[in-house]
Amino acid sequence: MANDLVLPTRRSGATRLWLPAVLRDPWLALLLALAALNLAWAATGTAPAAVQALWHWWPALLRGLAMNIQISVLAMALGTLAGLVVGAVSLSPSPLLRRLTRAYVLLFRNAPILVLVYFTTYVFPFELALGGWRLPFPDWLKVVIGLGLPASANVAEIFRGAIQSIPSAQWEAAQSLAFRRAQIFRMIVLPQCLRRMLPSWMNLYASITMSTSLASLVGVHDLVDAATVASNTVSRTDFTILVYFTLLALFFAYCYPIARWTRYLERRHEHY
């Protein structure tokens, strides 16, 4: 029965500049303001010493960020492939396989990521001998594997959750339309699953990207390492403050848009 109660009140009066939501974001305004400030300093040559040092170190910092992004993309790719396999196996009718995958997921979700990174870095050899070839096994690749393992465990869980969230009524409806199990999976269940998985998957990617900062603790030349080196080289208090907050800002600049896009996708696919 319609209960005539609280109808939404429209805020009267306030006119809003018509800009798409992206451009109205205060963080973007802050970024543009900082960029403008830097341009002004460059144009007039009045930049403080710390800022000039930062400009000097900027390419090194960006190279470090590229390393972080490289690690995160590869770790996520590896984790997604492995995770989809593990997730599919976890739905198998065999109780043994289900138990194995449960143990896998439990192990890699309960282990601190730092410990896993130490594990892959120190336990794996520093070069691989395959046949007659000796391939160097770079540290960053070990970190990729170290991050790929918990990523795969999380992807497996996300995948399993997505499959199980499809109401059984849809399976029944599809079966009554004479579809075979593989067809149902391919045409009805999988597309919906992928849509449902997307926000969690992107959250995971953001979290993996932030975990790549741990690579600096095992000697990989990433952004954190670059910042530390810069700070120790220049050895000025104001520069140290500036470079560490720039470090914060660079990670933020990469991860925040991802988080915003994820929220946008979540809202768009709410009704699925």
Binding site: V6, W27, P112, Y118, I241, L247, A259
Partner: protein
């Protein structure tokens, strides 16, 4: 007695290729024991402090006062989108250094305290999100019922909103606490003597990385299992029979 147990331990693992010889060295064993104790202390401090921060941040975010909610929202965004390690560095290497300079040597905040503050703030933000979702999940009609029963605003908050919000947010809060326990390993990055740091010291001397990592994994597994257990017990205690049907 203890000695012979340790000997048995070393002897058991040797044929498997695992070298636990360090337990026979008094200095290294006690260092490892200290590490276990420090990690436990880190967890014991960070869990309640993070919950406190979570409640405060959630209260600020839902207070409806823009001068409080907006800066908090900015803080929440920054904390959620930057690595904890970097936050720890900013706090310890930058803020601590500034404090030391201002006070002319010797910051009153120890590295242990910095780890607790940074990790508690980081996880407090996630707690606040969970609590806010819990508060918003309390149906408006239940609040209306409370108002019609002549409750004051504070009574509605304490008798109806908070009990229900905590029950709704409990699974998410327990998940956050499990993550928090794992995050304390980061303390090793600023030389706080937790189990990870002590292990690094030992393995850089003895080169038994795998053995120590296995011990660490088991220890963290135990701690996260305990947190999960307490979470399940709380969920049982606060159960609302028949709810949601």
């Amino acid at each position: 007695m203890f000695e012979s147990a340790l000997q048995a331990w070393v002897g058991f693992f040797k044929p498997l290729g695992l070298n636990y010889g360090f337990v026979l060295d008094a200095g290294e064993l006690s260092a490892f024991g200290r590490g276990l104790w420090v990690t436990l202390q880190l967890c014991a401090w960070t869990i309640p402090v993070s919950l406190l921060f979570g409640v405060l941040i959630a209260a600020g975010l839902t207070s409806g006062r823009a001068w409080l909610a907006r800066p908090l929202q900015a803080f929440v965004e920054v904390t959620r989108n930057t690595p904890t390690l970097v936050q720890l560095y900013c706090a310890f290497l930058v803020l601590n250094m500034l404090i030391t300079q201002k006070l002319g040597g010797g910051s009153p905040i120890a590295p242990f305290a910095w780890v607790v503050i940074v990790v508690a703030l980081h996880k407090g933000v996630f707690h606040a999100e969970a609590l806010r979702a819990g508060i918003e999940a309390v149906p408006e009609v239940t609040m209306e019922a409370a108002r019609s029963l002549a409750f004051s605003r504070r009574q509605i908050l304490t008798q109806v909103q908070l009990p229900l919000a905590v029950r709704f947010a409990l699974p998410a809060l327990v998940n956050n606490l499990v993550d928090l326990v794992k995050m304390t390993a980061i303390a090793s990055a600023i030389a706080v003597g937790d189990v990870t740091y002590e292990s690094i010291m030992i393995w850089s001397y003895r080169d038994n990385v795998l053995e120590l990592l296995l011990l660490i994994l088991m220890y963290f597994g135990l701690l996260t299992w305990l947190v999960g257990l307490v979470g399940k017990w709380l969920e049982e205690r606060l159960r609302m029979p028949g709810y949601g049907q």
